[in-house]
């Protein structure tokens, strides 16, 4: 349980972090955002204004999307979970990571509630692609031409991903700025000011991973009958994955000190 943390509760800093599992944590900001002294859980003067200040403080902040977030709960921050993807890496990874193109990890069973801005939130251009970013490359994109929107034949390079069985409530927004090849499956969004907020998108991926070739938006905005959620739970394999989830937080990338 993370309580009264100043700045981001859980912070993934550089963009080259991959394949970490962040599971079953509870992040509680115990001050209202409009507190005239503490301003929620914001803190100025750190090395990351976006993650820590009233710009976009978040319970979970990640510059890379290729990590697993499972079963976490984030409440009363400015944002519940922010996957920020506008840059090219940070620190020793600066210029070595195509943040907007990182694959989505497993984001399942999380709950974001009571956050002043977004619950589920991706910022920047989140268009996951199949690149050469891997653990073997220290999470760096070696051939950055693979981050381009089209291959030489004109096919888009996207790789689809799903937000699975997450819950958002009592937030102002849920969603994205520029994002595509994403699916909401079994999502419960209720009593948010904007149940889904999404600025710009793309035609869904057609060639890579052909089984994922249509843009299904399988959201369950359940205000009345929770059985609607159960009607969408058709993938038994997901429950197996849930059982196998690790409970550790593993930082595979050395990161510079985060001063929050």
């Amino acid at each position: 349980v993370l309580y009264n943390v100043r700045g981001a509760g859980i912070y993934i800093e550089d963009g080259n972090e991959m394949a970490n599992s962040i599971s079953y944590n509870v992040i509680i900001c115990n001050f209202p955002f409009n507190d005239q002294t503490l301003h929620g859980c914001t803190v100025p003067g750190t090395s990351n204004r976006i993650a820590d200040t009233s710009d976009n403080q978040a319970g979970i902040f990640s510059r890379a999307a290729t990590n697993n977030l499972v079963g976490n709960r984030s409440a009363n921050s400015f944002n519940g979970m922010l996957l920020s993807a506008g840059g090219i890496g940070r620190g020793s990874s600066y210029g070595k990571v195509c943040e907007p193109d990182s694959k989505m990890g497993r984001i399942e069973g999380n709950t974001f509630h009571g956050n002043g801005r977004f619950g589920t939130y991706t910022l920047g251009s989140n268009y996951p692609k199949l690149t050469d970013q891997s653990i073997a490359t220290d999470g760096h994109n070696i051939d950055q031409s693979l981050c381009e929107g089209f291959d030489d034949a004109g096919n888009t390079r996207g790789i689809s991903a799903a937000f699975q069985n997450n819950v958002d409530y009592h937030n102002a927004f849920v969603g994205h700025y520029m994002a595509g090849d994403l699916q909401y499956n079994g999502h419960q969004s209720h009593d948010n000011d904007n149940l889904i907020y999404w600025k710009e998108s793309k035609v869904s991926e057609q060639l890579l991973f052909r089984d994922l070739s249509y843009f299904a938006f399988i959201a369950c905005q359940v205000l009345i009958l929770h059985c609607t959620l159960y009607r969408t739970l058709k993938m038994g394999a997901l429950h197996i994955l849930l059982v196998e989830t690790t409970l550790r937080v593993i930082w595979r990338s050395p990161t510079s000190a985060h001063s929050s």
Binding site: M18, T66, N68, P100, K103, M104, G105, R106, E108, S125, Y127, E148, G149, F150, G154, N155, T156, G158, I159, S160, A161, A162, F163, G175, H176, M178, G180, Q183, N185, N194, L195, I196, W198, K199, E200, S201, V203, S204, Q206, R210, D211, L212, S213, Y214, F215, A216, F217, I218, C220, Q221, V222, L223, I224, T228, R231, T232, K234, M235, A237, L241
Partner: protein, 308 residues
């Protein structure tokens, strides 16, 4: 619900509760976001449980641009092909988003649809649903998007697009002039052109021409045409329209498939890479997109965690 602006969104097995409002094209043509503002929102086995008589849909009506070449009132709400068939066959879908007998909704600005045969499209306000559907047009027919990407035009001088529709079965032929759409200020973005909802099928044909702008009304050879989305054919069945472009050929007989080529058009970050103009989209020689059988591949549900 503030929906985005490009592509097709299949909303499936989903329940919407009280006070939900659909807002198509939420951010289309704000700054330089958005493309041609004609997304398809396909409702498949959706339970609309909002029983209040508040506004269920809010089409865009505000212009944040320094010009009036802004057609951001687009966006198509339509039942999935299987649900559409049920309604057309006379069945009533319980808790449908649409009134009995209707399967599609677009803004009232696309008034050519009101001339479709057999009163297939009506103003929602004429049948007592205006407040709910933002006075939009309800249709008993499916609707899909048709987009024409232009280049080199600017807001103050771009011509309108003249759309003529000819019906086989005695319906009144219909016409409408579609305004030019330009994302951002002049020269700020390359995203520009025309878009409109069309009725898929081969019982009618569409003819497009320019009103002025030089060239005798011809649609330039390098402009890119896009009909609907391959997702429709992948998930269900490929659809067609007959399309005639003044000054251009569109295949041998003008039959355009929803599976036509779409390469180099829009990746989410890259728009119309040079190879696209005149070589890709519909009504060119490019090969059709490959057919994907969604039903054989997890029924379209995306597996998570496969990447890490």
């Amino acid at each position: 619900m503030a929906f985005p602006d490009v592509g097709t969104f299949i909303i499936e097995d989903t329940t919407f509760g009280d006070d939900v409002t659909f807002e198509p094209n939420h951010h289309c043509n704000v700054g330089t976001t958005g493309v041609l503002c004609m997304p398809q929102y396909v409702l498949h086995r959706v339970d609309w449980m909002n029983k209040r008589n508040s506004k269920w849909v809010k089409f865009q009506s505000e212009n944040t641009q320094p010009h009036n070449a802004n057609q951001n009132h687009g966006g198509i709400f339509t039942l999935s092909p299987p649900d559409t068939i049920l309604v057309i066959q006379g069945q009533e879908i319980e808790n449908s988003f649409f009134p009995p007998g209707y399967v599609s909704l677009v803004s009232s600005k696309f008034n050519y649809l009101l001339s479709a045969p057999d009163n297939a499209c009506v103003l929602s306000s004429d049948i007592g649903y205006g407040a709910i559907y933002d006075n939009g047009i309800l249709c008993k027919l499916p609707l899909r998007s048709l987009k024409v990407y232009s280049r080199g035009l600017v807001s103050h001088s771009a011509p309108q697009l003249k759309v003529d529709v000819h019906f086989n079965n005695g319906g009144i032929d219909a016409s409408q002039n579609i305004g030019f759409h330009q994302t951002g200020d002049d020269h700020q973005s390359e995203k520009q052109g025309y878009s409109l909802p069309v009725i898929p099928g081969t019982e009618h044909s569409y003819r497009l021409a320019l009103l002025g702008g030089g060239g005798g009304g011809n649609i330039p050879d390098d402009w890119v045409i896009e009909f609907s989305d391959v997702v429709i054919g992948n998930r269900w069945n490929i659809e067609y329209i007959y399309l005639s472009l003044q000054g251009r050929t569109c295949g041998d007989i003008g039959l355009v498939s929803s599976h036509h080529d779409r390469k180099f058009i829009w990746s989410g970050t890259d728009f119309m890479r040079g190879d696209a103009w005149g070589n890709h989209g519909a009504c060119v020689a490019a090969d059709a997109m490959p057919k994907v059988e969604c039903a054989a591949q997890n029924d379209g549900k995306i597996l998570i965690g496969a990447s890490v």
